[in-house]
């Protein structure tokens, strides 16, 4: 009897992520710089433990290598946690949801005269008495929640998108931002620690042997290597930690800072900030740990005779993924056909909804800028859809 291979949902997820350990690990496809990070950290620490620690443990204190080990383990844990976890990817809309949104947009736009570009798809919401614009993502077919953004490298919408970090080989978003921050903070401490004790080691040796400091340093090539690595790392990592501390105190993301969303007099003030540094820090660092909504390791049920839809892997996933409740209610799921089957931004080349061959490379690496209608001079002035979120 041939054992049936179970198909898990991560195998059918759209986007440009790579998965390991049967869906437990989720990263970007390009991992070269991540391996470099790993090599630099482990290599430098290995040299430190091999050449500095024996001397320092004897001549200074046994606590020196112990603290170094603890720091190193914490840095590695934070790095792996940041790199391997789901940053807060928003799953793409299923066909029914996509067509429902299309119908809402059509209803709001009314009839567009032939030859004119339809207005840009923007939804205005009021958050803490500020008007925030939600953009429509043509790839994921959703109006992005506030603070979410589409990463063109990973081809996913990420909630509370900060940036895509090649050094950790993953996006930094809502779910892994605190691990990223703790990684930069602990790496700064580790770098300063190793740098300091390298200097101390050389100084002790020069004092012990009565030689000039530089001569003593040259007799310890490993120390020289470590000092060089730490010196250059210090400037970047400590600077980055300081920058993110500043962002956290204001409850801003790197993406918002770069785009200047909340800066300037004419702009909206940050509606997410509590106007209190302590509260902002607590929300970002001590807030709830959000679970992943991707369900990477869920098992996909094989349904007989289900042929994938013409474009979407997601549709095939829909046809295959059935919850027990739904199986009880119906055996054949009827799906409403989308109004615009191959929907795409009016000015962009039709992006294939399938996972292959989709390239949203734009000049802005971190966000798919679906502002095609606004890019060139429009024939009709673009009108903003004022779909006010109101509930009663």
């Amino acid at each position: 009897m041939i054992a049936k291979k179970v198909t898990r949902k991560w195998e059918k997820l759209p986007g440009k992520n790579s998965f390991c350990c049967d869906g437990r690990v989720m990263m970007a496809r390009q991992k070269g710089v991540f391996y470099l990070t790993l090599f630099l950290i482990t290599g430098t620490c290995a040299l430190f433990f091999a050449f500095e620690c024996p001397y320092l443990a004897v001549h200074l204190s046994a606590a020196v290598p112990v603290c170094a080990v603890i720091l190193f383990l914490f840095v590695m844990a934070m790095l792996l946690r940041t790199s391997f976890s789901d940053p807060g990817v928003l799953p793409r809309a299923l066909p029914e949801e996509a067509s429902f949104i299309e119908m809402e947009i059509e209803a709001a736009n009314g009839s567009v005269p032939a030859g004119q570009r339809p207005p840009p798809r923007i939804r205005n919401v009021q958050i803490n008495n500020q008007i925030v614009k939600l953009k429509y993502c043509y790839t994921c077919k959703i109006f992005r929640p506030p603070r979410a953004s589409h990463c063109s490298i990973c081809d996913n919408c990420v909630d509370r998108f900060d940036h895509h970090c090649p050094w950790v080989g993953n996006c930094v978003g809502k779910r892994n931002y605190r691990y990223f921050y703790l990684f930069t903070l602990s790496l700064s401490l580790l770098t300063i620690y190793i740098f300091t004790f390298d200097i101390v080691h050389v100084t002790l040796r020069s004092v012990f042997y009565g030689s000039v400091w530089c001569v003593a340093a040259l007799t310890l090539p490993s120390t020289v290597v470590e000092v060089l690595v730490c010196f250059f790392t210090l400037w970047s990592v400590v600077g980055l930690t300081g920058f993110h501390t500043y962002l956290i105190s204001l409850n801003q993301t790197t993406n918002e800072d770069i785009k200047g969303s909340w800066s300037g007099k004419n702009r909206v003030q940050n509606p997410y900030s509590h106007k209190n540094i302590v509260k902002n820090c607590c929300e970002v660092l001590c807030g709830p740990t959000y679970p992943s909504v991707l369900d990477r390791r869920g098992v996909m049920l094989e349904s007989s005779g289900s042929t994938p839809c013409k474009t979407s892997d997601v549709t095939a996933a829909t046809a295959n993924t059935v919850t027990p409740n739904e199986v009880a209610f119906f055996s054949l799921q009827k799906t409403t056909s989308p109004l615009i089957p191959n929907e795409h931004s009016p000015d962009e080349a039709p992006p294939s909804i399938a996972t292959t061959g989709h390239d949203t490379a734009t000049s802005i690496p971190e966000e798919e800028d679906a502002t095609g209608p606004n890019g060139s001079a429009p024939k009709a002035p673009p009108t903003t859809i004022l779909v006010k979120e109101s509930s009663h």
Partner: protein, 201 residues
């Protein structure tokens, strides 16, 4: 796996099946296949037959999506606005009650309180390794939400031909409510499949 299916199916079946199915088919608009067994011998067969009819006749008519309410920020909260499509399917109060309860659950999960600080600090001190064996507070609340939705489906929504999908399966973006055609009164087993295919258009 089979038991929840049967439970859910039987719940729906009991909601949709009128009691008249238990008696001998007499009227011309009753289920008539020409092969109805006498009730004394074929109650089980009739019920099974009707469950299968149900599966063919409970066709999906449309889906309604309840959007997120962002007025209070990025916390997970859904709009309580009553959709028009549910107008003659369910009472407003029941619907709003469901949504408000869900919103309360999510608020409880995302509350930044002493407990969340403690959980965060302990986890940080253990380099977050503790999360490999321990369930977070959010995950516990999500499980409660999932059970609540299942209960609501069984008690309130299924009898009205509706089905709520847990928002976590839709990326916490929408609450998807599936609306089914109520075909029990007019469907018949021999034309069950043609009826369902007819209603699909």
């Amino acid at each position: 796996m089979v038991k929840p299916l049967v439970t859910a199916a039987s719940t729906l079946a009991s909601a949709f099946l009128p009691l008249s199915l238990c008696r001998c088919p007499t009227g011309k608009d009753d289920f008539s296949t020409g092969i109805d067994p006498p009730p004394s011998l074929g109650n089980m067969a009739t019920e099974f037959h009707n469950l299968q009819d149900l599966r063919h006749t409970a066709t999906l008519a449309t889906k309604v999506f309840i959007q997120r309410d962002y007025r209070d920020g990025t916390v997970c909260k859904f709009q309580t606005k009553f959709p028009e499509e549910l107008d003659n399917r369910i009472e407003r109060a029941l619907f709003e009650d469901t949504i408000k309860t869900l919103n309360n659950y999510y608020a409880e999960a995302e509350k930044i309180s002493g407990q969340s600080y403690l959980e965060g600090c302990l986890a940080c001190a253990s380099a977050y390794i503790i999360f490999l064996c321990m369930e977070t507070r959010y995950e516990k609340v999500l499980r409660k939400i999932s059970m609540y939705i299942q209960e609501q489906n069984e008690k309130i929504y299924a009898p009205r031909g509706l089905l709520i999908t847990d928002p976590v399966e839709r990326g916490m973006r929408v609450i998807e409510i599936s609306i089914f055609d109520d075909r029990i009164s007019s469907g018949s087993s021999s034309s069950g499949s043609s009826v369902s295919s007819g209603s699909a258009r």
